[in-house]
C-alpha cells in the first residue's frame, strides 16, 4: 500500500488547488514506530505531509462529525462504511465530501509485533510490499504482513471502499474469511456465569480513559451517558460494576452501526480486546436482520426501521 502515498498527495494537491475541497483529511507519518497522526491539510503546498502505510488503523470518519466545509478524505473499506453511516445519520452530507478510496490490505497489529520481538524496544519499522522489517537497538527481524494483521483485518470482508469519488489504485481482492465470528461463538457457548466472568476479567484493567469510545466515529453524542452529571447516570470511579455498565452500553449503542474497523481495540492503552463486545452485536444484526453497517446509502439501518417480518422471537 506504500505506493498509495504519492497518489494521495497528488489527488489532495489537485483538489485543494482547484478548490474542490476546503480541507483534506488524511494521515501524516507518526513520530514513533507503527503510529501515524491524523492531519488536516488546507494548503496545497503542504500535501506532502500526507502518508499511507499499514499503521493507519484509526478511523478518520471521526473527524467529519458536524463539519460544514467541503472535505477531501482518504477512506479504506471500513472507514468508507463509517462515512456512509455518518451520512445516513446526518452527521455530514455526501455533497460535502470527496472520498479518496483506498483498497486496503489490512493494518499491522502493533502489539503482536512487540510480542514477536519479546517486548524489546522497536526503533523503526520499514514496510515493504508483503513484509516488514522491525529494527531495534541490536536486532533486525523481518516478518510477513499477513501473519501480523490486526484481528479485525484478518477477518475483514470489505477491504475496498463502498463509497468513493476516486480510487488511489485498483481494488484489491476481497478475503474469504473462514469464520468471521469464531471468537463470538466460543463466548456464546458459555453459561451466563462464565460469560459474566469472561467479561469481568476482560475489562479488569480498564482505567476509564474512554479512548475506545472517543476514537469511534459512532460515538458523537453531545453528552455521553457516562458524562451525564445532572443527574448522574453511572458512577465515575473504577468500580467494576460502573466500568462494566460503560462497556456494555457503549457496545449496545453501536449495534447495527459498527463496521469492525478495530480502532477501539488498537488504541486501548491497557490492551483490552473491546471488540469482543461489539462483535456479538455485529453477528446478531447480520444473522437476525441480514444487516451489515455502512454498505449502502439507499437503505435505512436495521435498528432504524420496522419491518413486519423483523425478527421478533424475543417478544414473549
Amino acid at each position: 500500500m506504500l505506493e498509495y502515498t504519492a497518489k494521495i498527495r497528488e489527488i489532495a494537491r489537485g483538489l485543494l488547488e482547484k478548490g474542490t475541497v476546503d480541507v483534506f483529511i488524511g494521515y501524516r507519518k507518526g513520530s514513533v514506530p507503527m503510529m501515524n497522526e491524523p492531519v488536516l491539510v488546507t494548503d496545497p503546498a503542504q500535501t506532502d505531509v500526507l502518508h499511507w502505510d499499514s499503521h493507519c488503523g484509526l478511523n478518520l470518519c471521526n473527524y467529519l462529525t458536524k463539519r460544514t466545509d467541503r472535505i477531501g478524505i482518504v477512506a479504506n473499506g471500513c472507514n468508507s462504511r463509517n462515512i456512509v453511516t455518518h451520512i445516513i445519520e446526518n452527521q455530514v452530507k455526501r455533497e460535502q465530501l470527496y472520498i479518496v478510496g483506498i483498497p486496503c490490505t489490512g493494518m499491522i497489529d502493533h502489539r503482536a509485533v512487540k510480542r514477536a520481538v519479546n517486548g524489546k524496544e522497536i526503533k523503526g519499522v520499514q514496510e515493504n510490499k508483503d513484509t516488514f522489517l522491525v529494527i531495534g537497538k541490536d536486532f533486525e527481524e523481518k516478518f510477513a504482513k499477513k501473519d501480523f494483521l490486526q484481528d479485525n483485518c484478518s477477518v475483514c470482508r470489505h477491504r475496498n471502499p463502498v463509497e468513493y469519488d476516486e480510487m488511489v489504485a485498483e481494488p484489491v481482492e476481497e478475503q474469504e474469511a473462514e469464520d468471521v465470528f469464531a471468537d463470538v461463538k466460543t463466548i456464546e457457548k458459555m453459561s451466563p456465569s462464565e460469560k459474566q466472568d469472561f467479561f469481568t476479567q476482560l475489562i479488569s484493567s480498564c482505567i476509564r480513559c474512554y479512548a475506545c469510545r472517543n476514537v469511534c466515529p459512532l460515538c458523537y453524542c453531545p453528552t455521553c451517558f457516562v458524562d451525564e452529571s445532572q443527574p448522574q447516570w453511572v458512577g465515575k470511579s473504577i468500580d467494576p460494576v460502573d466500568t462494566m455498565t460503560f462497556h456494555l452500553l457503549r457496545a449496545f449503542h453501536c449495534a447495527g452501526r459498527c463496521t469492525d474497523c478495530g480502532a477501539c481495540e488498537r488504541v486501548c492503552p491497557v490492551a483490552i480486546p473491546v471488540r469482543q463486545f461489539t462483535k456479538k452485536l455485529n453477528k446478531d444484526t447480520l444473522e437476525l436482520f441480514q444487516w451489515e453497517a455502512g454498505l449502502t446509502l439507499e437503505q435505512r439501518p436495521a435498528l432504524d426501521v420496522y419491518r413486519v417480518d423483523d425478527y421478533n422471537d424475543f417478544i414473549l
Partner: protein, 345 residues
C-alpha cells in the same frame, strides 16, 4: 554510604520477607506490559522492564478514593454528617520505580503539600512511602528526562537508588528513610571501589543513550497570554480525540473530581482522577464550561504543564520526560513537538 551489593536472589528473598510486614509494590508483567503490583507469594516481580504502562502515581494518589462517608437516615444522630472514611497509612515501599517517576512525585508534591494546602490523604501516604528507584541502563528512544531536570540515574525524589549490574543490584541509600529500608532488607555486601567505578561508568553511558531532547529555556520569559493566544493550538488539537490516555498514564497529572455516590441511605464522597481532556472537566454547576471546545482542553493540558506550573512554582516544567504520552497517545500527539512550538514561539 557508598553502596551495598545484593545478589538478585538475596534481594528477591529479602523483599518477599519484608512484604509480610509491609506493603511493597514491584513491577510485574501483566499481558504485554508491566505495572506496579503488590508483592505477594502468587506473583513474580520483574525488574527487567523499560517502564510500567501506568505510572506509579496511584500508589500515593489512587484513581478512586473514598474520602468521606455519610448517612441520609434521619433517624440516625449522625444524619447528614460527613465523616472521614476510616483508613490507615502504614509504611509502604515502591521498589523499582524509575527516576523519572520518582521525580514526578516531587513535582506533584508541591501541589498537595504546601504551606497553603495540605491534602490529608496525599500527605500521609506520600510520607509513608519509601521510593526505591531503579536506574535506567537502557532508556527508551522516547525518553527525554535529561531535558527536564532528571536523568536515567537521577536521585530526585528517591530514598534509595538501585543500579542493575546484571546478577546483582547495587543499592545506594539517599535519605534516612532509605537507610532504614536497606537495614530491613539486610546488610548486603560493601561494594568495592572497582564495582562503584563500573557502575558510575554505566550510569554515564546511560546518559549518553538519551536520544530525545526538548527545549525549555524560553518558556518562562513568555507571557501567558502570548502562549495562550498562539496560532498553533488548533493544529495540535486537530487529531486529539479527548480521551484520558495521556492524563491517566502521566505521572504528573494530578487533577481530580469529587463525586457523591449514594446507595439507599448510605453515601460515599469519592474523589476520582479527572482529565482536562474530558467534557466534564471544569463544567460549572450553571452549565457553563470555560473550556467547552477540544482545542481549549488540549491547550489547558500543555499550558498547565509547560507554562502555568513553571510560573507558579519556579520548579521547572510539570513533565518528567517519561515518554508515556508520546508512546501511547492513540493519535500520536507528541509532547516533544509541543515543547518545540511553545518554546520557539
Amino acid at each position: 554510604m557508598k553502596g551495598r551489593l545484593f545478589t538478585k536472589k538475596e534481594w528477591d528473598k529479602a523483599l518477599r520477607e519484608l512484604s509480610k510486614s509491609q506493603k511493597i509494590f514491584v513491577p510485574a508483567k501483566e499481558k504485554d506490559f508491566h505495572n506496579f503490583t503488590v508483592l505477594d507469594n502468587n506473583m513474580e516481580p520483574d525488574f527487567d522492564f523499560q517502564n510500567t504502562r501506568l505510572s506509579p502515581k496511584s500508589i500515593v494518589f489512587p484513581q478512586s478514593e473514598r474520602m468521606f462517608e455519610y448517612t441520609l437516615d434521619e433517624t440516625s444522630p449522625d444524619a447528614h454528617i460527613l465523616k472521614e472514611a476510616p483508613k490507615d497509612f502504614p509504611p509502604q515501599a515502591v521498589v523499582g520505580i524509575r527516576p523519572c517517576d520518582a521525580h514526578a512525585f516531587q513535582i506533584v508534591n508541591v501541589n498537595f503539600d504546601n504551606p497553603e494546602y495540605k491534602d490529608p490523604w496525599w500527605v500521609r501516604r506520600y510520607r509513608a512511602t519509601t521510593f526505591v528507584g531503579l536506574g535506567c541502563n537502557e532508556p527508551c528512544s522516547t525518553c527525554f528526562c535529561t531535558s527536564v531536570g532528571g536523568g536515567p540515574f537521577s536521585e530526585k525524589g528517591l530514598d534509595i537508588l538501585l543500579h542493575d549490574l546484571g546478577d546483582r543490584f547495587l543499592a545506594k541509600a539517599i535519605t534516612e528513610k532509605g537507610i532504614e529500608f536497606l537495614d530491613k532488607i539486610g546488610s548486603g555486601k560493601e561494594a568495592s571501589e572497582q564495582t562503584l567505578k563500573k557502575a558510575a561508568l554505566e550510569a554515564e553511558a546511560a546518559l549518553g543513550k538519551i536520544s530525545s531532547s526538548v527545549p525549555t529555556d524560553r518558556l518562562k520569559e513568555k507571557t501567558e497570554i502570548e502562549l495562550f493566544d498562539a496560532p498553533f493550538w488548533e493544529k495540535i488539537a486537530f487529531p486529539c480525540i479527548n480521551c484520558g490516555t495521556c492524563t491517566y498514564l502521566c505521572p504528573t497529572c494530578w487533577c481530580f473530581d469529587i463525586q457523591d455516590e449514594v446507595f439507599r441511605k448510605e453515601g460515599d464522597r469519592i474523589r476520582n482522577w479527572d482529565s482536562c481532556m474530558f467534557p466534564l472537566f471544569t463544567l460549572h454547576g450553571s452549565g457553563h464550561n470555560p473550556r467547552e471546545k477540544k482545542v481549549q482542553r488540549v491547550r489547558q493540558r500543555f499550558m498547565h504543564k509547560l507554562k502555568y506550573y513553571v510560573d507558579k512554582y519556579g520548579n521547572g516544567v510539570a513533565c518528567v520526560g517519561c515518554g508515556r504520552c508520546v508512546q501511547f497517545c492513540p493519535v500520536n500527539i507528541d509532547i516533544r513537538e509541543v515543547f518545540e512550538l511553545m518554546n520557539g514561539y
